[in-house]
Amino acid sequence: MSVAGRDIAAKEIAVEVRGLDIAVHEASGNRIPIVRDISFAIPRGEVLALIGESGSGKTTIALALMGYSRFGADIAADVIRVGDMRIDKMSRSELTRVRGRRVSYIAQSAASGFNPSRTILSQVIEPLLVHRLADRKTAEARAVELFASLALPSPETIGSRYPHQVSGGQLQRVMVAMALITEPELVILDEPTTALDVTTQVEVLKTIKLAMKQSGATAIYVSHDLAVVAQVADRIAVLKDGTMCEEGSVEQILNAPASEYTRSLMAAAQPEARPDAQAAPDNVLTVSSITAGYGRIRDGMPAKPVLRDVSFSIRRGAALGVIGESGSGKSTLARVIAGLLPAAQGDVMLGDEVLPRAMARRSREQLRRVQIVFQHADTALNPAQTVREILARPLAFYHGLKGPAADARVAELLDLIQLPTDVLARRSSELSGGQKQRVNLARALAAEPDVLICDEVTSALDTVVAAAILDLIDDLRRNLGIATIFISHDISNAHAFCDDLLVLYAGSVVELVSRARFSEGLHHPYTRLLVDSVPEMDTGWLARRSAADAPAIARDAISPALCPFLPRCSQAIVGACDTEWPPRRERDGQSILCHRDWGELRPSGHGVQGRTTVMS
């Protein structure tokens, strides 16, 4: 049987893999297969995406094309061919001559992939030098050319910087330059945009797509994100537990997935919008004019302010999404509400009761009513305690439950989070990622809180597991009437699960919007940028998406007296945005922090609300 599908039989095959098996050997002599019987072929100049969750073997397979394996795993295959090279038959020294010259690699985290103590330029030209393809001068000139074509700022001088002096998005582009500098036949991209914020991801994705097209190289694009892959790949291979579920053209996989697993992946990636909750009219939590940060507080202003004048309220049983990119202050907000970080100014009110700012001065009852579920279940569960101990403690602490009463309640809680009772005796190291997050959630529920703060609870989980956890939280808050604050960087998920959304930028609330208003598409310029940056599961999205508009007012740094989004805002008004703090504009169900009035705002292009309908 031919490994290449019929649709590519006519094209020239640049990369061919047949019968690939990869296994690790344990010290005890056991051989554990991590990848089994993988076969595929890529026509010259095309991009094959390897899609899968963690542990699916996608990176392992991609690295096998360089004859490289981690942890001493061994690679066995009938054929691994790149162009005229049989990678599977090569000696170590032959492989060294191929790597970085004819096959090159772009790593997920450019920040750790670059050597911190050498300049960018010296690392980018290193492949040319070690493979003796050019002298230093020619190599440097070539690098500067590439920097320019990858839209890096000041291409002539950026090379003399060290990796820590360049932003994450730029560094990722520098890594693309390093991979392309030897004009390889095959480029392996390992989740190149996963570590980036969504707004940065779009720009990097565009440059990568353009650069790959120009170089004419064949590529393997490793990712967990179908929507991203839809923009850059020609073909997709879906992997699960080291085996291939299906392989085909992008259109075929997206429009007519053959395997059940692919369908579940797609469903999980596109959450359906939930109906608004039947929330009671009374506010259970009110946050008014919170300013908080780190360092010494002087005149109500901390040395390093993180949150500025944050206000919102949430009704019993409602869900509020708090959206922001890394560093926007969203986790700090959770810590302030819980009292872990006392606010410098402003109040947190539980019902009609003003909570003391510092946790130490709150009563046990007040503490019980607000519970946080932390992002990383790995570190949120004490590794020395069993699940039973973890769940029993809040029951004893808040409700004085002991003995059989506590056991019965623990069993109920397990039932709520849909885990079998045999997990009770286990420690967190013996649970899967999803199970840990469920226990983490159950511990918060044990307190029977009025307010549940979920801090990025799904960001460390695979898509399918994450979707199940979100569904669970959604059901629980509806059934138990718990007001829920979802902290997230993913606006499409938050939109699907929350009644209201709060968008944070550099510590300020730039927009607070109800679900009904959201779908009208009139947003603060930053929300608009966020909405427009979420990739859709549609091959034309990246091409359709108009280039991000350039900032209207060039400005390097954020000034505390001006709108924090000003340096990136394409709709800024000269004479207003660069002179004074923006006003808060309010209308029913929406408020924004902007100099532009409702009528002057540019509506968002496509958007999150469109995404949920594209595939239906």
Partner: protein, 274 residues
Amino acid sequence: MTGRIFAALRTLPASGRIGLALVILWLLIAALGPVIAPHSPGAFVDESVFSGMSRELWLGTDYLGRDVLSRLLWGARYTVFLALGAAMLAVVTGTSLALVAAIRGGWIDEVLSRSMDTLTSIPSKIFALVLVAAFGSSLVLLLVIMAVIYVPGNFRIARALAVNLISLDFVQVARARGEGTAYIAWREILPNMIHPLMADMGLRFVFVVLLLSGLSFLGLGVQPPLADLGSLVRENISGLSEGASAIIVPAIAIATLTVGANLLIDALKPGARS
């Protein structure tokens, strides 16, 4: 717990098994030495001094014609038990202070950390000499001195562990729940420090044995008529030029104890069996 210990022992590499055997051997000798010793440690058993190994006197005689084997069996208890006691005392004190510093933070942490940094800037043997010169070297004093010298090292390690654990979310969860300091220290933090702390105590034990034997070798440690293993090396130093077993045997004995303990600790380190 015991099940886990047995599982760990079963996967122990050869070096670790040798280490374990040596440590157990020395613990037995320390406990039972006087019972199995053929002679009294002070008895003059032979006319000739520095006699070599023989069928009657397995390890020969010392500079006064006493039985080296018996003196070794008697002396081991001072070395082993003093070192065990000092290591435990150092770890309990250092860790308690470290927990206080890490949990309370602020000026308490500043003061404690600064003091401990100061003490670690005094090389351990130099520190020991100053302490012995000032206070003398009775057994109790030696125990306390050894413990004092190794408190700062343990403090540093324990504080680093505790600070690291405190930054983890499960401690934040406990704090947000409203738990008191004692609960957090005792139930959330300490159980996660036991393994590295045991390893550290093992290392401190090795250090104390070396330091104590060194002091005794210099004549500043255990004082006659008592004699630990280091004292045995010292009192027979004049036999060195004739290569007497009376000096080499106790020196090797100390090394088997410390090297054995060190091999065992290394083999029990997490990740050592990969």
